[in-house]
Symmetry: C2
Subunit: 194 residues, 2 copies
């Protein structure tokens, strides 16, 4: 579809689901865009991919999820920042990143077993196997939670990796350090609740 | 304005500019939402705050910036993920985060000195003082770059910190570890370009 066509720097783009899925399965937060009565809105929220869908969840009173469940056009964007790209010239400074943009319309997930599966996957994404190491949702908790699924049919990835683009001419002789400062996100020492 | 009113979990919200600015000045990437001819779109991009505006930049041919510069309604969202909140019950799992949402309309920055200031600030955000340790943009580079400014007049922050919300009743006796796993983003060893 035209809106998933990559415009700027198309050589950085991909529609390969393996590439897309790797990014989706590493990232914890997505950025959900939709058009409200007040204009465009972007809201961050946790998500998990299962098969060909992204699953989002929240309280039954969550206005964004309720709006999306009506089948509004939506855009879900995910970005991992991998490095700072420092060049000899200001113009060639950049960042290394891996991002995914998904266009589509979400649907409400009503089936209780499907909801349980999605909620367990959300928790396992925070910490592997965690859904088996806590009390599962009871009927009241499940009823107070809404889950929606956003299809990956219209998804694309965009990635920048590697060093700064090569300088040319006189810039090659500039004395400035140039290269990449990697950004690394790690899990620190767990802090038990009091 | 009504659209900056915090709805869900309003106790986590703030309109305090000092709180908002701290988040804006730490984050490197923002998520820009607007409504295109194809529906809602969210695009990630670098940004920097100077005073009461967020500055975004890109090539003169960048469709998003060109669209925003016409004064389209936009929403810019920024999120820092600080920790994974593991509770005794699946229902109380969460994440710790600091986010900002800005509604408004951007304006194009035409003044060359203002553009230079914004571009230098963008580079200094990647690495302090870096704008003085590289060749500044020349006239051609400056002319091929567009800069837009988005006012912070309609901005709000939302923050979750601390341990899981307390369990109650029988859940207090569940044997599962509960607490917070901090997420820490660090700069790795710089990799010089070949």
């Amino acid at each position: 579809m035209d809106r998933t066509r990559l415009r700027r720097k198309a050589q950085r783009g991909s529609h390969d689901r393996a590439v897309i899925d790797t990014i989706l399965d590493e990232a914890l937060v997505c950025h959900v865009g939709f058009t409200s009565g007040h204009g465009p809105v972007v809201i961050p929220t946790a998500f998990v991919r299962i098969g060909d869908d992204l699953y989002l969840h929240g309280a039954t009173g969550n206005a964004m999820l309720s709006a999306l469940a009506t089948g509004l056009d939506a855009c879900v964007e995910i970005t991992l920042l991998d490095g700072l790209v420092l060049a000899r010239t200001a113009f060639h400074h950049s960042v290394n990143y891996r991002s995914v943009i998904v266009f589509g319309r979400a649907r409400r997930v009503d089936d209780p077993e499907r909801k349980r599966t999605a909620l367990a996957a959300l928790i396992d994404k925070l910490d592997p196997q965690r859904s088996a190491a806590c009390r599962p949702p009871n009927h009241k908790e499940l009823a107070s939670t809404q889950v929606i699924a956003m299809p990956l049919a219209e998804a694309s990835a965009k990635i920048r990796t590697g060093p700064p683009v090569p300088d040319e001419g006189e810039d090659l002789h500039l004395p400035y350090w140039h290269g990449v400062i990697p950004l690394v996100t790690t899990r620190g020492t767990p802090v038990p609740a009091a």
